[in-house]
């Protein structure tokens, strides 16, 4: 995050899950706006029939987590929306910036347990850092197809070909397609 240099701010990670309906984002951000919180980073998406939100919010000190939790209580009682709030430490606000080749790994094939685990374990064992991961079940009821897309940073000495090679055994074992490609940004 680039805002870590700002002083006198307290940061919270707010996780929200609600049965999907129109107005969730407006309800949540209304609470934050009323309290004077700033949304620094966020990811909100529909997962199955639920709408999930993860927000990093900041507020000028002094400000307590209890105040934030209290304000969301009313929303929970009125709509059933569930909130979890965690105070972030200084170290969490200023993570070490990952430098390294960025790659996109796509995995797809017949649905079966263990695809995410098997793929990410191989990556973790070689210090490949996952920055983003999405999965989706597509296809038909009779023939469900599992799709996993992840974006990862490669450590020094690990190339796209290395990763592709490391996943070769899984490709055969799980009978899935695996593609690894570079998505390193171009400066224009």
């Amino acid at each position: 995050m680039t805002h870590c240099r700002k002083e006198n701010l307290v940061h919270f990670a707010v996780t929200i899950i609600s049965k999907d309906r129109p107005g969730i984002v407006a309800d949540v951000t209304e609470v934050l706006f009323r309290l004077g919180c700033n949304i620094e980073d966020s990811s909100c998406t529909m997962l199955g029939g639920d709408f999930a939100m993860i927000l990093i919010v900041s507020h000028e000190k002094p400000f307590t987590k209890a105040k934030l939790v209290d304000e969301f209580k009313e929303l929970h009682e009125r709509t059933g929306l569930v909130t979890y709030v965690r105070t972030l430490s200084e170290a969490e606000i200023c993570p070490i910036k990952e430098e390294g080749e960025l790659c996109l790994i796509s995995v797809y094939g017949s649905d079966q347990p263990g695809i995410v685990y098997r793929v990410t374990r191989v990556l973790a064992d070689h210090r490949v850092n996952i920055a983003d991961l999405n999965t989706k079940l597509i296809g038909t009821v009779e023939e469900p197809v599992y799709v996993l897309m992840l974006e990862a940073t490669l450590p020094d000495g690990v190339t796209i070909d290395t990763v592709s090679g490391l996943l070769e055994n899984l490709r055969k074992e799980l009978k899935v397609e695996i593609t690894v490609r570079s998505i390193t940004p171009v400066a224009l």
Binding site: G100, L102, T153, T184, P185, V186, A187, L188
Partner: protein, 168 residues
């Protein structure tokens, strides 16, 4: 000519339609030199458009010959005055970053082949066909002449907008 400071969004010039050059005079030649110097100074930059250095004129420079993606397929240093795309085809996504929008990159769909008509630094009408990374760079720089940033072209926020990790 000195390297110029790159303006950052939200500077209003970056969202403005740039004016066409009427006469290719010494002033325009000086502008081209400034743009070339600025491009050479940029971190891994392969192009700069005049609005990025605060001049709202339809002038830009592109040179992908030193980049990993462009070195096999390029026209070398291109100085373009009043460039227009007269033909385009194909489509491919590339994750783009821009010196005027630091810290963000995004996947942008661009034509894979373009034919461009322009005036060169002598004011002579020229035409060239570009493909691959050079075509992408030309489209990105020419967008600046219309006040369009790569952020205006990102198709999907969920998968299309990323914090910049590094320059290569």
């Amino acid at each position: 000519m000195p390297s110029q400071k790159i303006l950052l969004y939200p500077h209003p010039i970056l969202k403005k339609m740039a004016r066409a050059v009427e006469t290719v005079d010494d002033e325009i030649k000086g502008l081209l030199e400034d743009l070339i110097d600025t491009m050479r100074e940029g971190p891994g930059s392969v192009g700069v458009a005049a609005p990025q250095i605060g001049v709202s004129l339809r002038v830009c420079v592109v040179d992908v010959s030193n980049s990993k993606l462009g070195k096999e397929n390029n026209h070398g240093l291109l100085a373009l005055i009043n460039p227009e795309i007269v033909e385009r085809d194909g489509e491919a996504f590339m994750r783009e970053g821009c010196m005027s929008v630091p810290d963000y990159t995004g996947d942008v769909a661009r034509s894979t082949r373009v034919v461009i008509r322009y005036l060169n630094e002598q004011g002579i009408a020229c035409e060239l066909e570009a493909t691959g990374f050079e075509a992408v760079a030309l489209q990105h720089e020419m967008d600046h002449l219309d006040g369009v940033l790569f952020l205006d072209r990102i198709a999907s926020i969920k998968t299309g907008l990323f914090r910049r990790k590094s320059y290569r």
